[in-house]
């Protein structure tokens, strides 16, 4: 008889890590994400000038180039850019978290229902989803923000509203094929309830794809959030936000180059991190996302 591992779940985890760690890029992405998340969580304690993240002016130390106590330099009203970048990450990650927390459960539930129950629930849900999916995300977000007061909460609302259909589409596709799997039919024949089948048989098999998409989406949401702030529609001053910082600093290029460049690089780094991590997940899970 074959050797059955003593703790199969842990064994699975180790195998997954082995496959994941084959790819240097994925490990790098994971590292970047972990470091950024930690820094952000501990922002008040790890940044040199946490008070600069709020309303603060110090014209004596304004527009200093990178060096000395200000690793990334200071902006035109004297705030330390490094600190503001780290605090800016907070808003980016918060946006991502909130949007996904709202969009993913909604989208997944609708996808499960549409994929499992054929007939008109499927038609209604999927046609609505199609409508949403046909509009470019940024355009839709802009349209929504045009009627709402520009602030972080409304930005989160706008992005959430147009994010859930992607998950519905993803899960719908998965459920449509999974419902024909032997174990689903076996559960049906035995008489298991639809709730059991959807939640305990089908959903666990959708999780790899959902998790991969969530990871890649974090990158995309952060980008969209930054774009909205860049356009003045998201986080409002004096709260630090990477997009706003880039927008404000852009007019000082190329003299005070550090003012927009570091926030821009920060966006690049976190987006790259999530993308690499998501790619790595996609490779090991073998999903098509």
């Amino acid at each position: 008889m074959s050797v059955v591992a003593a703790a199969p779940a842990r064994e699975n985890l180790r195998r997954t890590w082995y496959a994941f760690s084959r790819n240097g890029g994925s490990v790098f992405g994971l590292g970047v994400v972990v470091v950024v998340v930690l820094l952000t969580a501990l922002a008040p304690w790890v940044t040199p000038f946490p008070q600069h993240a709020r309303a603060f002016t110090d014209f004596e130390h304004a527009s200093l180039p990178p060096g000395g106590p200000h690793l990334f330099g200071t902006d035109t009203i004297g705030r330390d850019i490094l600190t503001r970048v780290v605090f800016g990450y907070r808003f980016s990650l918060l946006l991502g978290l909130v949007v996904l927390s709202a969009a993913v459960p909604t989208g997944v539930v609708l996808g499960l229902l549409a994929g499992y129950y054929r007939g008109w629930p499927e038609t209604v849900i999927m046609r609505v989803t199609d409508v949403f999916l046909s509009i470019p995300p940024l355009a839709l977000a802009l349209a929504i923000m045009a009627v709402l007061e520009p602030n972080l909460q409304n930005a989160m609302l706008a992005v959430s509203v147009m994010w859930w259909p992607w998950y519905t589409r993803l899960v719908y596709g998965l459920v449509s094929s999974l419902r024909n799997e032997g174990y689903v039919q076996a559960a049906q024949i035995v008489g298991a309830s639809p709730a059991h089948i959807l939640l305990r048989e089908i959903l666990p098999n959708c999780l790899p794809a959902i998790l991969t998409k969530m990871t890649l989406d974090m990158a995309f949401v952060i980008l969209i959030g930054s774009s909205l702030s860049f356009l003045g529609l998201g986080v409002q001053p004096p709260d630090p936000d990477l997009g706003t910082m880039v927008a404000d600093g852009a007019k000082y290029m190329p003299d005070l180059w550090w003012v927009p460049v570091f926030p821009g690089l920060a966006i690049l780094v976190i987006v790259l991190g999530f993308n690499l991590l998501g790619d790595g997940l996609r490779d090991i899970f073998g999903v098509e996302v």
């Binding site: 059955v4 032997g182 049906q188 035995v190 666990p204 999780l207």
Partner: protein, 342 residues
């Protein structure tokens, strides 16, 4: 002759073909188109057919996964074609179970063996505590000759034969009397197949099970089934006791099937009909040919075959066939062909 365990009467299952933005119906797939037979307790009833024959759809309809479009299925005095009956009598779901073909997909890859086996036990309230579940699952694993540690394993750690044993254990969890075996060994190597079949035969004897055995492997069928039914495009072509079907096949389709079996010895070559070159391939059940659905491919087709659908008749005691070549199968033209089958 004992009372049949299961009696199918003119079971029909059609699927509508829907297309377009609003999913309008444009055609129908006649997966099962009027099947009748009876199963006796303790027997192994073989069902054979190629793709498009409807054998899997028929099995699924029996199991309640599909509701028949027409016809009735009598099991212990209940008509299980009626979903209300199935819902109302939980004993039916417990009594009829299934083992699927592909062990790779019949077990949920994200659930351990224990979790998979617990599902039928919990759904039917056969265990109430975790300890009870543990005990019963250990028993089930023993019945299929697997050590209890296996309950903690995920399917990917098991071999094909082991996975299939787990699938059998799942089928036995509700103490069924009737088990549908849909290609239970087709995905397994031949050296493993024998052991699984031996296990199934042993379980049948010990637990008084009746089997509906579906396979495309006719050599296997020859050794496993007591009676064999041959299906083509949703209808029965022939039904007979196993030795009779193999030594004296009547229907041209049966002969075509038998002649195509790849055998491994000269002795067996002599036992099968000469190779009959099939014309074309099985048409789709969405476009069933008129008259006898086999006529476009039949080497013995003649004038009445494209016009009239034959009915089933007995040719030799219990040997039944549905083909115009045989007396009793051709209804008088112009009259409604009432199936002479019970």
């Amino acid at each position: 002759m004992s009372e049949p365990l299961l009696r199918l009467v003119d079971v029909v299952k059609h699927f509508p073909i829907r297309t377009g933005f609003l999913m309008r119906q444009v055609g129908v797939i006649k997966a099962v188109d009027g099947v009748s037979f009876a199963l006796h307790p303790g027997e192994t009833f073989g069902l054979v057919g190629e793709s498009g024959s409807g054998k899997t759809t028929l099995a699924m309809t029996l199991l309640g996964a599909y509701r028949p479009t027409a016809g009735s299925m009598w099991f212990r005095g209940y008509d299980i074609a009626d979903p209300a009956v199935r819902r109302g009598v939980p004993a039916i779901k417990k009594a009829i179970q299934v083992v699927f073909q592909d062990p790779g997909s019949s077990l949920n890859p994200r659930r351990t063996v224990r979790q998979t086996l617990e599902v039928p036990l919990r759904v039917h309230g056969l265990v109430h505590t975790s300890a009870e579940a543990q005990r019963r699952i250990t028993e089930l694993l023993e019945m299929v000759e697997l050590p209890p540690e296996f309950m903690y394993a995920f399917p990917h750690a098991l071999s094909g034969g082991q996975k299939q044993r787990v699938a059998i254990a799942r089928a036995l969890a509700t103490e069924p009397s009737f088990v549908v075996l849909d290609e239970p060994t087709s995905a397994l190597d031949v050296s493993v197949q024998g052991k699984i079949i031996a296990l199934l035969v042993d379980l049948q004897r010990r637990l008084n099970l009746t089997y509906l055995f579906i396979t495309h492997d006719l050599s296997l069928m020859r050794n496993v089934a007591t009676r064999v039914a041959v299906m083509y495009l949703g209808k029965l072509a022939e039904l007979a006791a196993t030795p009779a079907l193999f030594s004296a096949p009547r229907h041209p389709y049966t002969r075509m099937l038998l002649s195509a079996i790849p055998v491994v010895s000269e002795e067996e070559e002599r036992l099968k009909p000469r190779w009959i070159v099939p014309r074309g391939e099985t048409p789709s059940p969405a476009r069933v040919p008129p008259g006898c659905s086999f006529h476009p491919r039949c080497p013995d087709a003649f004038d009445v075959c494209p016009r009239l659908d034959p009915v089933t008749a007995a040719v030799d005691g219990d040997h039944r066939v549905r083909c115009h070549l045989y007396p009793g199968c051709t209804p008088a033209e112009g009259t409604d062909a009432a199936p002479a089958w019970r």
